[in-house]
């Protein structure tokens, strides 16, 4: 009897402390799979750096909104000259870096000059290639002169690779990042977690959370356990889609299904015979059953795409019909192209499950029409070396996660080796155009051109699964860029 009493008392005490803890929740623990290699977003391609720091710690002249729109950042407004070559950015007033130094036009000049310098190690140096000069007109005005008109420039400046850094703190940026954002970097336990605290002196709308911890858990099973044990409040890009129904059914959690900028494609080596023949490439496109791949490799999550463009973008054209599943047509096209079947081809698959699982399904579908892929599972480093740089492959599966990156088709030496001068001219014209209506028209034309040329087989847009406790509000559902923007996140009461 006494035993019963005491346990009842205990559980009441537990309930009390739990509700008190809930009411005072001002921190958030976020899980993610990959740990940043270092903390400088301007000198690495690793998306994990942006996932932790973008908008939270570092800000650029412009910034991505949750829907992918380009919003004012450190530049509250900007003017474009008549000829589209000169951008005048007006900076926000009273902005300080986390070390107390002021952020002014000189810092912007420093950041942009550093990114485009001869010895720059910026992973997206192309974003800055069009800059002719950067000048500080006065402490709050920066004039950027471009070599040619570029309507994309505000978009380029929103990337994590273009955030504004200070010359005073650049030396230790890789371990102690000093930015202007609503959160300050506090400490990093390598291999485990990164801790951020609220920036009390933030120049804009302050963060609601007092602190945030990012924990890095690479193993999907461990991620599941950590979420279930409530060690974490949120897991961004949850790695095991097969567990999502379980979270969905659990009243403690909610699942957000969003979209990313990741076009997942079956890339084709356009210079490798017989794939230099458009008919053979078309045959591959018709042999692939997108829904089967989405169901089999992604547990039903993912939007089919027919071209290299994000379906949530306003300029997206649905071209999936052009490469609908039709194995008979596929066989006919191969015969027409004079290909002797079975056609053996090397297919490299990098580690992500969309590639490994998807690759098996694609291979089975291709075999049905007489193409025999020889699967080679590779690590990332091997993929970059052999497939991407060495172009030693026939087919590969990969997700292109950079936003609005259709311009890679204008690079003839890019790994799929698509060389169409017409398309290249179109991209040059597009970047010089700043009229939104015309740009939209050109984007659509570009999508159609690559779909018509069957450059690659377009599979699906990579989804973003976020698992969170029910009380967490204000998370981004989509990922227009790799970021976990916590500036508007709060706990509901």
């Amino acid at each position: 009897m006494t035993f019963r009493y005491s346990t009842a008392g205990l559980s009441v005490a537990f309930a009390l402390t739990a509700s008190v803890a809930m009411a005072q929740s001002t921190g958030l623990t976020v899980g993610m799979q990959l740990e940043p290699p270092h903390l400088d977003p301007t000198s690495a391609a690793a998306g994990a750096i942006d996932s932790v720091l973008y908008s939270n710690v570092f800000e650029g002249l412009t910034r991505f909104g949750p829907d992918g729109s380009i919003n004012p950042g450190l530049a509250t407004s900007w003017d474009i000259s008549e000829d589209g070559k000169v951008y005048t950015f007006h900076l926000a007033e009273g902005v300080t870096f986390h070390d107390g130094t002021t952020m002014d036009a000189e810092d912007v000049v420093f950041s942009l000059d550093r990114a485009r310098a001869e010895d720059s190690v910026n992973a997206q140096k192309a974003l800055f290639a069009g800059i002719e000069s950067v000048e500080a007109t006065d402490p709050l005005t920066v004039t950027v002169t471009l070599k040619t008109a570029d309507g994309n420039f505000p978009f380029n400046m929103a990337w994590g690779d273009a955030v504004i850094v200070a010359p005073e703190s650049i030396e230790n940026i890789k371990t102690t990042p000093i930015g202007t954002g609503a959160f300050k970097f506090d400490n990093w336990v390598q291999g485990d977690s990164i801790h951020l605290v609220k920036n009390a002196d933030y120049w804009g709308e302050p963060a609601i959370l007092e602190e945030a911890t990012f924990k890095f858990i690479s193993d999907p099973t461990a991620a599941f356990a950590a979420m279930m044990a409530e060690d974490l409040d949120v897991f961004v890009a949850f790695p095991a889609p097969e567990n999502l129904p379980q979270f969905d059914a659990d009243p403690r959690f909610k699942v957000l299904i969003g979209s990313t900028e990741g076009e997942t494609i079956l890339a084709i080596n356009n210079k490798l015979p017989p794939f230099d023949n458009v008919k053979v490439r078309e045959a591959i496109a018709h042999a692939v059953n997108r829904q089967e791949i989405i169901d089999g490799a992604m547990f039903g999550y993912g939007t089919p795409i027919g071209t290299h463009f994000a379906p949530h973008h306003p300029d997206y054209v649905d071209l999936t019909e052009m490469s609908g599943y039709d194995p008979e047509k596929s066989k006919a096209l191969l015969a027409e192209a004079g290909v002797t079947t079975p056609l053996k081809v090397k297919m490299t698959l990098p580690p992500p499950s969309y590639a490994r699982r998807g690759g098996e399904i694609v291979a089975a579908e291709l075999r049905a029409v007489g193409i025999e892929p020889e699967i080679e599972n590779v690590e990332w480093a091997q993929w970059l070396e052999g497939t991407f740089k060495g172009k030693d492959y026939g087919l590969t599966i990969i997700s292109h996660t950079e936003p609005l990156d259709i311009n890679i088709y204008a690079r003839p030496d890019y790994y799929f080796q698509y060389d169409n001068p017409e398309f290249q001219t179109l991209m040059t014209d597009l970047s010089a155009e700043s009229d939104p209506a015309k740009r939209s028209e050109m984007f659509k034309q570009a999508q159609e051109t690559i779909a018509k040329d069957y450059v690659n087989a377009y599979l699906f847009q990579l989804p973003l699964h976020t698992v969170a406790k029910v009380g967490v509000e204000g998370l981004w559902e989509n990922a227009p860029t790799q970021a976990t923007d916590l500036t508007a996140v709060s706990w509901s009461q």
Partner: protein, 314 residues
Amino acid sequence: MLLYILKRLISLVVSLAVASVVIFLSIEILPGDPAAFMLGVNAQEDTLAALRDQLGLNGSLWERYLSWVGGMLSGDFGMSYTYRTPVAGMIADRMWISLPLAIYALTLSTLIAFPAGIWAASRRGSAVDVGVMGVTQLGVAIPNFWFAMLMVVVFAINLRWFSAGGFPGWDKGFWVSMKALTLPAIALALPQASILARVMRSALLDTLSEDFVRTARAKGLSKRQALWRHALRNALIPVLTIIGLQFSFLLAGGIIIENVFYLPGLGRLIFQSISARDLIVVESVVMLLVFAVVLVNFAVEVAYAVVDPRLRRR
């Protein structure tokens, strides 16, 4: 005794030198350019060249080997390609998790195995013996990562006694940290304890049938007295060998358990560094582990000499 130790020391140094060459070569021939890995698919050729130059990847194989070994001898393990911090510091940080975890697991394993093995041997053929043999058979057969996940489900998800993984850091308190290491230590210790208990039992049974034990019994000692005073000490050599091997294994072999419990230890550091082509970290950590293994073996050999006076004269 001194000569014996000197001989062991020489073999230690030779092992290390050979290991350094093998490690360096096998890692250098791995395909993959660290610079390309860091900068990704949109990087331009001149950017890659600039980074390779910064990382010191342009020297010849021979030059890089010498600078690596020379650096290590003077305590400078170089800079990590990806983290851009000194490798020595990273290893030291990770060591503060892997080493206590290994010691914790080994202690648990010994505390379980010794009594179990001795008990089983002293009642050979009894229900106790059969029971210990059965349970340890199971312990050897169960993969430790599976057992780890099972414990997470029971103790972290259902009972909420422990968190599912992670490590708070020693600065958050000794007991908090020990608690975080408890499930991983048990997962690591279980198969080790099973093996050790079986070795303990069979070694003890072997010595119990030796002549000197019979002599001891003949001079009037009870079975128990003969076991504790004479047999046990002589049974320790194979047990020590196994403990030495197990310690090296626990230090280096925590990779899977460290991933299951997402502990930032040495195993996970190696795993991450290999996939990120952070070659300098891989080389240094592997070298350090080799050093640890060789050192542990050395300690075990010295311990043999302490246990078995005959060895000292060799």
